[in-house]
């Protein structure tokens, strides 16, 4: 004990230091467990499968970009909806069921830091899932080169693209993902069971998705513009055509902030009213 008092402990009270610590632990837990790699492998496998399927369609029909064909169909949604619960269902539910939230919150850490740290880590992992997309232009070039060499120059067989065809989809997937990840963490904070968190999250995203489909079912009634504004499928088709719109950005960022604030309330409430 005596020798310890000679060595002063360097301490910091920095808010960002704690946030960074939580972020790194969470991010590492995605990459240092088989769990994260299973999600990553599934996502990359499915993306490859679709790209291949879409390229086959493309050889018959032309006009739109590859990304449009890939994202603007129901198959994509089938997979897209399940990414978020998979990434986020553990975040808060596991802390609570293992009791580690107690150790967490008796350290000098605020609820906001915990939620933000977990959110940023999950969002970054989600963005990593889409990085293979950055290779598509290169794959397209390779394909075009192969076609050119094999069949001489045949314009019909070429994959036409502009940088906007890639930038658009990547940005809408990131922007909407920022909200869905927040929604997943919110669902995870509601319960101590990961399964329930995952189911609630999936259902919420499906409900949100179908809100955008309401005008298709009910026709163009007076409130229809609001549903068009929320429609994730319309946003994705616009963005994958290369149309960059700032309205979804505002929508999803404010929804994400709101959901995270709500999550903080829920975590505190559940602790205070046990």
């Amino acid at each position: 004990m005596a020798e310890k008092e000679k060595i002063a402990i360097s301490r910091t009270q920095s808010w960002y230091y704690t946030l960074r610590t939580i972020f790194w632990r969470e991010f590492r837990s995605y990459l240092c467990t088989p769990f994260g790699w299973v999600i990553l492998a599934c996502a990359i496998g499915l993306q490859g499968f679709w790209l291949q399927a879409v390229l086959q369609t493309m050889s018959k029909a032309t006009g739109e970009s590859v990304m449009f064909y890939m994202l603007d169909n129901v198959n994509f949604w089938f997979f897209f909806i399940f990414i978020f619960p998979l990434i986020t269902m553990r975040t808060m539910a596991e802390e609570e069921s293992h009791g580690t939230l107690e150790v967490f919150l008796t350290a000098p850490v605020t609820t906001t830091q915990i939620i933000l740290g977990k959110y940023i880590a999950a969002l970054l992992f989600y963005i990593i899932l889409w990085t293979p997309m950055l290779l598509y232009p290169w794959v397209s070039d390779l394909g075009n080169l192969y076609t050119a060499l094999r069949y001489d120059i045949t314009p019909e067989g070429r994959i036409n693209y502009t940088p906007a065809d890639w930038f658009g989809p990547i940005s809408i997937l990131t922007i909407s993902g920022s909200f869905f990840i927040a929604l997943g963490i919110f669902c995870s904070s509601l319960t101590r069971s990961q399964i329930i968190a995952g189911i609630v999250c999936t259902c919420s995203i499906i409900i949100y998705y179908f809100m955008g489909r309401v005008p298709e079912l009910w026709g163009e009634f007076p409130a229809a513009p609001a549903f068009h504004y929320l429609s994730i499928s319309e946003q994705i088709s616009a963005f994958s055509r290369g149309l960059i719109d700032t309205r979804p950005l505002v929508l999803y960022v404010s929804l994400a902030v709101f959901t995270l604030a709500l999550t903080k309330r829920v975590v505190d409430y559940r602790r205070w009213h046990r």
Partner: protein, 313 residues
């Protein structure tokens, strides 16, 4: 200044009152044993002190910082080891401790140095590279204790630190807590009363949410009902001896126990606390020339205090 001040702390879960109007204070350097039957409110009180559970009414402060108004400052002075020690299963021991050290605001080279120190202190050296998932109960308990020690906090709150350990491990943890006492304030809850008698210089007994006693173990045992009790075994005329014993001034009651084989009688003499009736009782039996084989004055232990304070009847 007191290390811990608790004023009228009250906690209600729905219709169940877990802690009723708890008021006590703990001075710097004290080792406090927190005793009570299961479900008495020990863990709840400890959780409130750490700021994890908010009190329904009342306040508490640690090192002068209110746990509700200044929770972060209060927690910086606190090391907490919860019951059952929840840990992240997927980390290695040193990884976990480094993470916890950073959460507690330790930075730079101090992280490694602090982790090395607590690993050394808690005997975790052979397991430092192991995954927490693979550790035995005893080592998990030590990881929890090591975590609480990180950053050398002024106050340690240990909730049943020896729960589920074998006698050797209990001894090691006890030695560790005793060595911490030199410059820490420690609050520990336990069911092992001999442990408290050995290491604590203050005892708080809580039952059904209420603080029943708050004193040194010596003071608690001194004024106990059981203190003046003498047990005697003899042969001869039981009625005569009982009558003469009851006539003696400090004796309150003579209880006749079931007769022992071989014609031996067994009586228990209850007297005023702090008196010794052994000499007089021996005289009475000797004056009748009855044989006597056993006379014993009960030395009150903390167990007697505990039973007396928390008994339901």
């Amino acid at each position: 200044m007191s290390m811990v001040t608790v004023e009228h702390l009250h906690k209600v879960f729905g219709r169940f009152t877990a802690v009723k109007d708890a008021t006590f204070s703990i001075e710097k350097g004290e080792i406090v044993g927190f005793l009570g039957p299961n479900g008495a409110g020990k863990t709840t009180t400890m959780k409130m002190l750490t700021g994890y559970l908010p009190p329904t009414t009342g306040t508490a402060s640690i090192a002068g910082y209110d746990i509700i108004d200044k929770p972060l400052e209060a927690r910086r002075h606190l090391g907490y080891m919860p019951e059952n020690v929840p840990l992240y299963e997927d980390l290695r021991v040193t990884e976990y401790l480094e993470y916890r050290a950073r959460l507690k605001g330790i930075c730079g080279k101090s992280v490694r140095q602090q982790v090395g120190w607590v690993v050394d202190r808690c005997g975790l050296e052979p397991k430092r590279r192991n995954l927490i998932r693979t550790l035995s109960k005893g080592y998990r308990q030590r990881v929890g204790l090591a975590d609480a020690l990180l950053g050398n906090p002024d106050l340690l709150i240990l909730d049943e630190p020896t729960n589920g350990l074998d006698p050797n491990q209990i001894r090691q943890i006890r030695e560790l807590v005793r060595s911490l006492a030199e410059d820490h304030t420690v609050i520990l809850s336990t069911h092992i009363l001999s442990e408290v008698e050995m290491i604590c210089n203050k005892v708080i007994i809580i039952d059904q949410g209420q603080i029943k006693a708050n004193d040194t173990p010596q003071n608690l045992t001194r004024n106990l009902r059981a203190a003046g009790r003498v047990s005697i075994e003899f042969k001869g005329d039981l009625d005569v001896v009982v009558k003469e014993l009851e006539a003696f001034e400090p004796v309150k009651k003579v209880i006749v126990e079931a007769p022992l084989p071989g014609g031996w009688h067994h009586v228990i003499v209850r007297a005023e606390p702090g008196t010794d009736t052994r000499e007089k009782a021996a005289d009475i039996i000797a004056s009748h020339h009855f044989p006597m084989r056993h006379i014993y004055r009960h030395i009150p232990s903390l167990e007697d205090v505990f039973v007396e304070m928390t008994r339901k009847d």
